[in-house]
């Protein structure tokens, strides 16, 4: 079996997750703990990619990251690099699509941390950032890790946005789901099934760890 799609999928999903974690933590903190004004709007925006067709997301990204787009144009002018139709574009597409799952899970995990513990820490002399780092995140870490894995597992299976913004180039942007699609198109059912089997194995393994973490978190309370 060709290992390229498997390795590329892992690479794309890991990078997508790494992009998302700091953003999801920051947004969750703003919404759940700081209660910033307009948080209802922020929460809606967080969930938006969940409600849009992935292909539409891919289209927006294409417009944004393409050489004519606002972000792609700047990158092209300054660094002479092009993102579209590279694995980086696939990672960005996977990040956007998987962001809601991760952020929503982290919001729940942070919301479950007893506010009185954080208020106690404040009155003991800790500023908001220190409270987050020493109280909120340590107490919510299982839920945060579970959210991270949920985002990761979604990124593993990303298809619509990826094919739109990164294409389906074997060895360069062809992830597992894109490879399966191609095998199906070329009537290579055995190869398609084998790759689908790998997808199932990756997803099941990730979800098992995810559920184990949540279960441990529940018991710790």
């Amino acid at each position: 079996m060709d290992l390229d799609p498997i390795l590329l999928t892992l690479q794309v999903a890991i990078v997508a997750t790494l992009i998302n974690v700091p953003v999801a933590l920051a947004v969750s903190w703003l919404v759940v703990k700081r209660r910033v004004p307009g948080r209802i709007l922020i929460e809606a925006l967080v969930s938006l990619p969940l409600a849009l067709p992935p292909v539409a997301i891919g289209l927006f990204l294409l417009l944004l990251l393409g050489r004519e787009g606002p972000v792609g144009g700047v990158l092209d002018d300054l660094l002479g690099v092009e993102i579209v139709f590279t694995w980086v574009a696939a990672a960005i597409a996977s990040a956007v699509v998987s962001f809601p799952l991760m952020a929503r899970a982290i919001m729940v995990a942070m919301g479950e941390v007893d506010e009185r513990l954080e208020m106690s820490a404040r009155s003991l002399g800790a500023g908001p950032l220190r409270v987050t780092l020493t109280i909120t995140i340590p107490l919510a870490y299982r839920g945060i890790l579970a959210g991270l894995l949920l985002g990761f597992v979604r990124a593993l299976s990303e298809f619509g946005a990826t094919i739109t913004v990164a294409g389906n180039i074997p060895g360069r942007t062809q992830t597992l789901s894109l490879a399966i699609y191609q095998k199906v198109q070329t009537r290579d059912d055995d190869a398609a099934l084998a790759l689908a089997g790998v997808s199932v194995a990756l997803a099941v393994a990730t979800l098992l760890v995810h559920n184990w973490l949540l279960e441990r978190g529940r018991r710790a309370r």
Binding site: L117, M119, S120, A121, R122, S123, L124, G125, A126, R130
Partner: protein, 367 residues
């Protein structure tokens, strides 16, 4: 004139409830008393900086920490107060030691007036330091929370219902520790309570609030007798919570002798050893007052004292009798008339041993 440790004038509006209250406290142990929903915890949270008032001013030890007029709002971490929640709010992912040191480590060296060892010693937590906090009993949790707050050398302690989440057996212990904190460390305490018995046992000054408004501020005996407090104070269940020392351990028949003020009382279910401090609870309505020593009576404790104060509240008269400590006795106006009772008079108190409840239990692991 000495600077008040705390003064505030606050307005805080919620849908269906608004708090409007101002007060000033000198020092020592002060209580904010009121029924649930009266706004007393809101006052405490405003002082701590956990709730922002709509209007007003708060000064702690002379420093303005909140002023709506000058747009000043010092964040809670800079207010130098130790806040203790009703249920302790210990950090579950840290040991007892790390809980206690959390705030101490954040306190600048030049501001440290209390060392953790001193606080750990005072609250007798030495043996618990390496334990996690989840297995602690209610009383132990509350002591750790007090130590954690004190280790930051705060200007004052704010306690939200420090006794009400506790098993009866632990209340005595915490009452004695709170007294030791003000006596030995000099840290003022402001605490919220809905029990007049606790206020009487602990506070030197009490602010009574109801429906978001101040009713009265006075020493507890005067506040308790205020007409506006009558409906709130729940006199029928008023208990004397008084310090006691074990003079003689429980004998084979189960009775021990404890000293309260200048008098000795026999009491059941005393688990503390000879010479140990304990706290006993005696309901004011359970004490009988007499002018002569009665004879041939089953009650085992007949002690002499002097009437210090008398306050009439409808069908009840609260008589404050000095036996070396103050015991409040609840009788009727008819009894006062029958005995022709006056302040300064010598009287006998008749207390059944079984009416005396020792608020201590031997140390045991929490169930």
């Amino acid at each position: 004139m000495t600077m008040p440790m705390l003064s505030f004038s606050l307005t805080k509006r919620y849908p269906g409830f608004s708090l409007e209250c101002e007060a000033e406290f000198a020092s020592g142990r002060v209580a904010i008393f009121g029924p649930s929903g009266s706004g007393k915890t809101t006052i405490l949270n405003c002082v701590a900086g956990l709730t922002q008032p709509d209007d007003g001013e708060i000064r702690i030890a002379g420093e303005t920490v909140f002023s709506s007029e000058s747009w000043r709002n010092v964040p809670p971490e800079k207010r130098r107060i130790g806040y203790v929640f009703q249920d302790s709010a210990l950090f579950p992912h840290m040991s007892v030691r790390d809980n206690i040191l959390y705030g101490h480590r954040l306190t600048p060296a030049k501001r440290r007036t209390l060392e953790p060892e001193q606080v750990i010693d005072l609250l007798r937590l030495g043996a618990l330091l390496d334990r996690g906090v989840t297995g602690l009993s209610g009383g132990e949790r509350q002591r750790v929370a007090l130590a954690r707050a004190l280790a930051t050398s705060p200007d004052m302690l704010l306690l939200d219902e420090p006794l009400s989440a506790l098993d009866v057996a632990f209340r005595g212990t915490i009452i004695r520790y709170l007294k030791r904190i003000t006596r030995e460390l000099g840290t003022p305490i402001v605490y919220v309570s809905h029990s007049m018995s606790e206020v009487m046992a602990l506070a030197e000054d009490v602010l009574v609030v109801d429906g978001g408004q101040k009713v009265v501020q006075a020493v507890p005996s005067i506040a308790l007798a205020h007409p506006g407090v009558g409906a709130l104070a729940d006199y029928g269940t008023f208990e004397n919570l008084v310090d006691a020392v074990v003079e003689q351990e429980a004998r084979a028949d189960g009775l021990a002798m404890v000293r309260v003020g200048d008098v000795l009382l026999s009491a059941p279910d005393v688990y503390a050893g000879r010479g140990d401090e304990t706290t006993v609870s005696i309901r004011a309505a359970d004490i009988i007052l007499a002018l002569d020593v009665p004879s041939r009576i089953s009650a085992q404790n007949i002690v002499r004292g002097r009437v210090e104060e008398m306050h009439t509240l409808g069908p009840r008269v609260l008589v404050y009798v000095d036996v070396g400590a103050i015991l409040v006795v609840e009788i009727t106006p008819w009894a006062v008339a029958d005995l022709n009772l006056r302040e300064g008079q010598d009287v006998y108190l008749i207390i059944k041993s079984t009416s005396i409840l020792a608020l201590d239990r031997p140390n045991r692991p929490a169930g």
